[in-house]
Each structure stands twice: as structure tokens, then as C-alpha cells.
């Protein structure tokens, strides 16, 4: 993954991920008016005023984790969406899900990382809340934190391709129909299927 060392890649990737998550959250905001949803610890009482882009930029600037952690965090969000279909990503929870997923990715992946108190400051929440979010996120994922190399590769290649194809804002629009959530958008059947299968899925 030498590409990850490329200095221009990460800022673009961060921008792309922000746009993607924003589209997903907005589309689910529309949906949630029609569907009953659980309120989780990730659900803020109000919509945070900071944009997803600024929030993720901030995390990227201060977390100082391995670049792979952002890909892994994205995989965690995807897994979370698949395992918790009643908790779709929306404008009220996307910020808390983001800071938690990046923190958990860094804790799992990196040997040197910042602690929860630091991430709480970066994320603008209290330490106690950060700790609660972490436990709920872990149980929500069923502690499925390990990412197989071919899974990582599949997501990474997908993101790279999307980045190359076109500037971020329009892609999300084109590939995401309004009634679909992140889980449908990027549902790789990682554990069971071979790499070949995944590529076929991607091609569809």
C-alpha cells in the first residue's frame, strides 16, 4: 500500500469520505421521517453545527494515526450499518460515529495512539461520553475489528477508483439513490467471499 504514503491522497480521501457520509446521512434523514428508528447513544439532541467535512478534517489533523486507520474506520462504519440496520447513519449521529470509529481503528491498528480523553477533545465531547460511545460501538460491531488484507484492499481500491473518476461531490450523488443507506452502498460480503467475488461485486 505504498499509495497511502502519497501526500496528496489522504486529503482527497478525507474530502471524498466526508461527502459520501454527508450524502448518506442526508438521505437517511429524509427516510427516517417514514421509518421508526432506535435512538442510540450516538444520537445527538441537536444536529451538530460543524460540517462533516470540517469535523473529519479536524480528526485527520489531530489524530495523527496511520492513514490506513481512515480506511479501516470506514470499513467499521460499513459493518456497523450492516449489523445495526435500525441505527442508520444520519445527521444526528454521524459525527459521534465518526470520531468513535477512527479512535477504535487507531487503537486496534496502531501501537502508538492517543487515548480516549484526547479523542474526546478532538471530537468535542466529554471523556465519559467518549467511553460510552466506544463500548456501544464495540458491542454494535460484535467486536469485529480485524480487517483481512483482501477486505482492506477491496475498499481501498474502490475508494481510489472513485477518487480518480471524478471530483467528490457528484459521485456520491450518482452512485447513491436516496432510499439507500451506507450499507447498501458499500456492502462487501467480506469474510465469506473470495477476493475474486468481491471484484465481481464491485463491477456490478
Amino acid at each position: 500500500m505504498a499509495e497511502l504514503e502519497n501526500p496528496s491522497l489522504m486529503p482527497n480521501l478525507i474530502t471524498y469520505l466526508s461527502c459520501l457520509l454527508q450524502k448518506v446521512a442526508e438521505s437517511n434523514d429524509v427516510n427516517c421521517r417514514f421509518q421508526p428508528q432506535k435512538v442510540s447513544v450516538f444520537h445527538g439532541l441537536t444536529r451538530p453545527t460543524i460540517s462533516i467535512q470540517s469535523y473529519l478534517d479536524r480528526i485527520y489533523k489531530y489524530a495523527n494515526c496511520s492513514p490506513s486507520c481512515f480506511i479501516v474506520a470506514y470499513i467499521y462504519l460499513d459493518r456497523f450499518a450492516q449489523k445495526q440496520p435500525t441505527l442508520p447513519i444520519n445527521s444526528f449521529n454521524v459525527h459521534r460515529l465518526l470520531i468513535t470509529s477512527v479512535m477504535v481503528a487507531a487503537k486496534f491498528m496502531d501501537d502508538i495512539y492517543y487515548n480516549n480523553a484526547y479523542y474526546a477533545k478532538v471530537g468535542g465531547i466529554s471523556r465519559t461520553e467518549m467511553n460510552y460511545l466506544e463500548v456501544d460501538f464495540l458491542f454494535g460491531l460484535g467486536f469485529h475489528l480485524n480487517v483481512a488484507p483482501n477486505t482492506f484492499h477491496t475498499y481501498f481500491t474502490y475508494l481510489q477508483r472513485e477518487l480518480m473518476l471524478q471530483p467528490p461531490p457528484s459521485i456520491a450523488e450518482s452512485s447513491l439513490s436516496l432510499d439507500r443507506s451506507l450499507k447498501v452502498h458499500l456492502c462487501f460480503n467480506e469474510e465469506e467471499s473470495s477476493h475474486q467475488n468481491q471484484q465481481q461485486q464491485l463491477a456490478v
Partner: protein, 311 residues
């Protein structure tokens, strides 16, 4: 791994006795009330400080989640969330109960002065290699293999790898690995010399040290500092150089060390047959690239006469 809603961990289990204490909490032998089954409960404190869920717990659970089905890796049965007396969140890791570990087992022989029977050493070593091969096959480095972390059942002589708190998936690119890993005595020379991108070979070095210890009942390299640890190794295996280990002199902690020539392994590990000594020497190769893998070790002639049907 369901989040418990109705039944708390404390209602589900009856603690029988404390059997150990780790960095983050105590380990209990406990009885599952519903089934009467004896389990090991590893209690982990949370929310007490800035750290949240200890990274060791986070890694151990997620890694065991995928490795626990191997017969030579300790089985994690469940994770439960509970509260302690002060109302703080605790996590309970529910493991199958094993009655001893290799450290205690070796000590019991050291006390009586007997040797561990040759066929037992062989069986334990085979199971260890098999478990390590399984971990490596799933992209996991254990990084802290030592007798204390190898659980045993005395009746069946089954060995299981435990304590994967320092384990990590080695296959994804990260900034750099720490070298603050592994108990000193079982630590590979490349880690001692400061290599930041080490591999499965670090575990095989530990396996080698455990092998020798099973035979002699004494630690092979009992260093009490990083430098002493290296000197112990150099005194037996000879001071490494670019010929035996290309790249060694560019490792971060490399210095000019006293020059020793290698001693015979047979003198350090008497009572091991020639096949055993050959396998041991393959596991103690300086160059990590030349060190034998767990999978290859299982096919070594040393194990040829072992009945592997039940292992």
C-alpha cells in the same frame, strides 16, 4: 457477544476463586449458574481513566473472535458488560477454564528434579507449533509467547495459546510497530535490536526458547535488561554479523558488541536428541527470513514419531 439486557454477568456466574491478576483486572474461576459449567472470567475495569476500553482487551476480543475455533487457541465464549460495586462499567471476558499453564507445569518438574518426559515435550511442542501456525495463517502475530501464556489441561495434556492482548494483525500497513513487546527472555534479537517491521519469525524465536525450557526446565536466555538479553543470545549463538544476518548492522540498536563464536546447542540443551537439536537450531536462526515457520516446523523429522491423531 450480545449486549446483555436482562441478565447481568454477576447473576449469570458464581465466582469461585481468584486465579490471577493482570494489568487491567482480576481473573476468576467461576461457575455458570445456568449450566454448572466451570469457566474463567477475566474482569476488565473501564471508565476509570482516560483510556476507555484497554487496547489489550479490544485486540484480544476481536482477535480471539476469529481464532477461538482452533483447538490450540483458548476459547473465548462470551463478552458481557456489567457494573462493579461502585457502579462503574466492567467487561467480563468468559473463557473456557484450563487448570494450569506451562510455567507452573515446568516449575512442578523443576521442584521434583525430574525431566518432563520426552514424548510430552514433543506433544506440547507440536501443539504449540500448530496453534502458532493457525494464528500466523490468519494474519495474527502473538508477540508475547511465553510459558505463562500457554494454558494446559493436565488430564488431556492439551495446550492452548492464551493472552492475545499484545497480539496484532500484521498484514495491514501501519506507521510502525512498537518494540515494547514481549517478555524479555523470549524476545527475538531483531526486536531487541530495534527493528520496527518484524514478522511471524518473532513468535518462532519465542517458540524456540520455550522448546529449550521444556527440555532443561530453565530459561534459555534469562536476561535482566535488553543489553544483557542480547549478550546472553550472542554468547550461545555467536555474535551475529552481516554474513549470517544481512542487514543486522543497520538495525537501530546495533553497536559494536563483544565477539563471541557460537557454542554447541547440545551443550546448552542436553537431553535433546539430534532431530530436536536440529529443529531448535532452525528456530534460532538469526536472520528472521531464514528462521523456520510454524507450519514447516510441524513437518520436521523431530515430530515424525509423534501420534498426531488426537492433537
Amino acid at each position: 457477544m450480545e449486549k446483555p439486557r436482562q441478565i447481568s454477568a454477576m447473576e449469570a456466574f458464581e465466582k469461585l476463586e481468584k486465579v490471577g491478576e493482570g494489568t487491567y483486572g482480576k481473573v476468576y474461576r467461576a461457575r455458570e449458574r445456568a449450566t454448572g459449567k466451570i469457566v474463567a472470567l477475566k474482569k476488565t475495569r473501564l471508565h476509570e481513566d482516560d483510556e476507555g476500553v484497554p487496547p489489550t482487551t479490544l485486540r484480544e476480543v476481536s482477535i480471539l473472535r476469529m481464532l477461538s475455533r482452533d483447538p490450540h487457541v483458548v476459547r473465548l465464549m462470551d463478552v458481557k458488560q456489567g457494573q462493579n460495586k461502585e457502579g462503574k462499567t466492567v467487561l467480563y471476558l468468559v473463557f473456557e477454564y484450563m487448570d494450569t499453564d506451562l510455567k507452573k507445569y515446568i516449575r512442578s518438574f523443576r521442584q521434583t528434579g525430574e525431566n518432563i518426559p520426552v514424548n510430552i515435550v514433543k506433544s506440547l511442542m507440536y501443539q504449540l507449533c500448530k496453534g502458532v501456525a493457525f494464528c500466523h495463517g490468519h494474519g495474527v502475530l502473538h508477540r508475547d509467547l511465553k510459558p505463562h501464556n500457554l494454558l494446559m489441561d493436565r488430564k488431556t495434556m492439551t495446550l492452548k495459546i492464551a493472552d492475545l492482548g499484545l497480539a496484532r494483525a500484521f498484514t495491514l500497513p501501519i506507521k510502525k510497530y512498537t518494540h515494547e513487546i514481549l517478555t524479555l527472555w523470549y524476545r527475538a534479537p531483531e526486536v531487541l535490536l530495534g527493528a520496527t517491521h518484524y514478522s511471524t519469525a518473532v513468535d518462532m524465536w519465542s517458540v524456540a526458547c520455550i522448546f529449550a525450557e521444556l527440555v532443561t526446565k530453565q530459561a534459555l536466555f534469562p536476561g535482566d535488561s535488553e543489553l544483557q538479553q542480547l549478550l546472553h543470545i550472542f554468547r550461545l549463538l555467536g555474535t551475529p554479523n552481516e554474513q549470517v544476518w544481512p542487514g543486522v548492522s543497520s538495525l537501530p540498536n546495533w553497536h559494536e558488541y563483544p565477539q563471541w563464536s557460537s557454542q554447541s546447542l547440545a551443550s546448552a540443551v542436553p537431553n535433546l536428541d539430534s532431530d530436536g537439536l536440529h529443529l531448535l537450531s532452525e528456530m534460532l536462526q538469526y536472520d528472521p527470513a531464514k528462521r523456520i515457520s510454524a507450519k514447516k516446523a510441524m513437518e520436521h523429522p523431530y515430530f515424525a514419531d509423534l501420534n498426531k491423531a488426537y492433537l
